[in-house]
Assembly symmetry: C2
Homo-oligomer: 147 residues x 2
């Protein structure tokens, strides 16, 4: 079994997508993450669901739990509204890291190792023709358990 | 809104649960992760779905992509069978890290910051009475988007 046998179509976002729209897409379709593509449709980044959430959480609250605690309940409830104007471009993590991207020939074990290493429940599959689709942790687990 | 308003019952595993059973539980119920509890039902660890997968992927394949690539397709398909005899105890990550565990009084922003910081789509909620339940990224996103 190869990556090409496990593909599903997957919605993408761009650098110009508002963070709020990205969050809504993730929540409405119950996705494990999102693929950020460039103008040619090639993946620039693959964000796990928790990283999409991180786009919307003020940095000072992520770094210091005590600072999140002092925000009162009413403001805490509406934290998403504070990112209303931001796009994915402004919020994308800047650190260099291995991206969960593979080719159509990757085996089940390679995909599993990539997901485990990058802690991403979503892997983008790219061939010489471009983005072919994605493989989710759910799909991978289902296939691994029946193999 | 507080953690206590967002709780859902959530299945747990113990240190003696076979890795294969943990993987099956995750896949069959499409869970974002698993809570590992001790004999008193208190959480010892909270594993994201990709960390449950990591329990089942040989360490050498996670560390070195080239080594995963040389395993032939037939063996790669059945990698899960190689962990048939292992339990969660033997496979649990040993590194000290902040666990995604909070109290019933945590606000939506605190829970979001905790998920973002620990990169866990699952947070366990513990009170003086023990494990109260869990909050998933999906639940949190749904509530944050309607607040």
């Amino acid at each position: 079994m190869r990556a090409r046998d496990l593909l599903t179509d997957f919605p993408t976002v761009t650098l110009d997508t508002p963070v709020l729209d990205a969050a809504r897409l993730l929540a409405d379709q119950d996705l494990p993450g999102l693929i950020v593509v460039d103008a040619n449709g090639l993946p620039l980044s693959v964000l796990a669901g928790t990283q999409v959430l991180a786009l919307a959480v003020p940095g000072y609250c992520q770094d210091d739990p005590a600072l999140a605690r002092v925000v009162d309940e009413a403001h805490a409830d509406t934290f998403l509204s504070s990112v209303a104007g931001r796009t994915v471009r402004e919020a994308l993590p800047r650190e260099a890291r291995e991206l969960p991207i593979t080719d159509p020939g990757a085996t089940l074990l390679e995909i599993a190792a990539l997901m485990a290493r990058t802690r991403s429940p979503l892997v983008a599959v790219v061939s010489e023709h471009g983005l072919e689709g994605a493989i989710t942790l759910q799909t991978l687990m289902d296939r691994a358990l029946t193999s």
